[in-house]
């Protein structure tokens, strides 16, 4: 087994972390702008559909960068992550968030639904992405193993 080249320089991991932070901030932030619009809180001159169409590429590219930089960070010490309950929580939230974004969220935006249904969808979307962030932060703080404590 060769050494993971990512573990050679002490600068690699911080650079990956900053890349990860900036890219997930763009990905989640562009989705959140649509969610705030669905909630009637921001960008009221535009429709949710237009906002989504104009940010879709940004969301997709930055989400890909976030996933890729996350995968690289995972590869530096897989044992630390896959037995970490917070990491597993993060991955579950992430899968749900992505599925939700490209199915239910997308349909609500495209059908220009408004009112209660759109607001619930926006809240679920925000909650799932915040769940991903919480899971990520707590990786460093929970004890090894698969129990919450």
């Amino acid at each position: 087994m060769g050494e993971n080249p990512l573990n050679v320089s002490p600068w690699t991991f911080p650079i990956l972390e900053v890349t990860h932070i900036v890219s997930f901030a763009i990905a989640i932030g562009t989705i959140a702008i649509v969610d705030f619009r669905l909630l009637g809180l921001a960008m009221l001159r535009q429709t949710p559909g237009k906002l989504t169409a104009d940010t879709r590429l940004w969301t997709m590219v930055s989400l890909s960068v976030a996933l890729f930089s996350g995968l690289l960070m995972y590869s530096t010490d897989p044992d630390k992550f896959y037995l970490n309950v917070s990491f597993l929580f993060k991955i579950v939230c992430l899968i749900l968030a992505i599925l939700f974004h490209y199915t239910i969220h997308r349909r609500i935006v495209l059908t220009a639904a408004s009112g209660g249904q759109a607001k619930v969808v926006a809240c679920v979307s925000i909650a799932l992405w915040v769940g991903v962030v919480f899971g990520g932060i707590f990786i460093e703080f929970v004890k090894e193993g698969l129990s919450f404590s």
């Binding site: 959140a32 960008m43 962030v133 932060i137």
Partner: protein, 210 residues
């Protein structure tokens, strides 16, 4: 002087309670980063629009005016969490080089706002139209992006510096658990040579937590 202010801050009741709470720091950090995730892209969109880069089909006013209030609310949320994290470990943060860089960058953000708010952000009407944006708008946007990127890097850097072994709050945290000395607000009194042993022990316990 600044150091004693930091020690005073971390020993007021709220900060002490947060510090001794279970998972208080981690929860604030997660909220801090969550709010960054929800709101930081608004800064990026504003600056990209000023640079004429993206997104097309939006007037400067569409972006700058419609995002002004959400951006401010977001900044307040992020800053409130950040301030509480700083407050509960103020001495540790004060000694942290990345925290100092971050504060310096925030000072530059304030200067940026003083310089460019009256000239660019509050004069959106002047920037409309298909002509290339004036240099001052481009300069404002480029500097803003640079400063906020620096703040993200410095913020992440804070976590890489381990606290020095002489942080006052480790002693004080213990003092509050001793019924004999519940009025121990004066950090200087706590740092007598008698407390050196307990200081080390507290420090050891702190390390074991992580």
């Amino acid at each position: 002087m600044l150091l004693s202010a930091a020690i005073w801050l971390q020993n007021i009741g709220l900060m002490r309670a947060l510090r001794e709470s279970d998972r208080g720091y981690e929860t604030l950090l997660a909220l801090h980063v969550s709010c960054i995730a929800l709101f930081a892209a608004m800064i990026l969109l504003t600056d990209l629009r000023l640079l004429h880069l993206a997104p097309r089909g939006y007037s400067v006013s569409d972006i700058v005016d419609q995002l002004r209030v959400p951006k401010r609310i977001g900044f307040l949320c992020v800053a409130a969490c950040g301030f509480l994290m700083f407050g509960m470990k103020a001495e540790e943060y004060y000694l942290n080089i990345f925290f100092r860089i971050k504060v310096l960058l925030f000072g530059m953000v304030a200067v940026h706002a003083l310089v460019f708010r009256p000239r660019v952000y509050n004069r959106v009407a002047d920037l409309e139209g298909s002509a290339a944006p004036p240099l001052r708008a481009k300069a404002a946007a480029a500097l803003s992006l640079l400063l906020w990127f620096g703040i993200v890097c410095a913020g992440r850097g804070i976590g890489y510096i381990h606290p020095p072994p002489f942080s006052h709050h480790f002693v004080l945290a213990q003092a509050t658990r001793t019924p004999l000395d519940s009025s121990g607000d004066d950090a200087a009194n706590m740092l007598t040579s008698d407390s050196t042993h307990s200081l080390r022990n507290e420090k050891g316990a702190h390390n074991a937590d992580h």
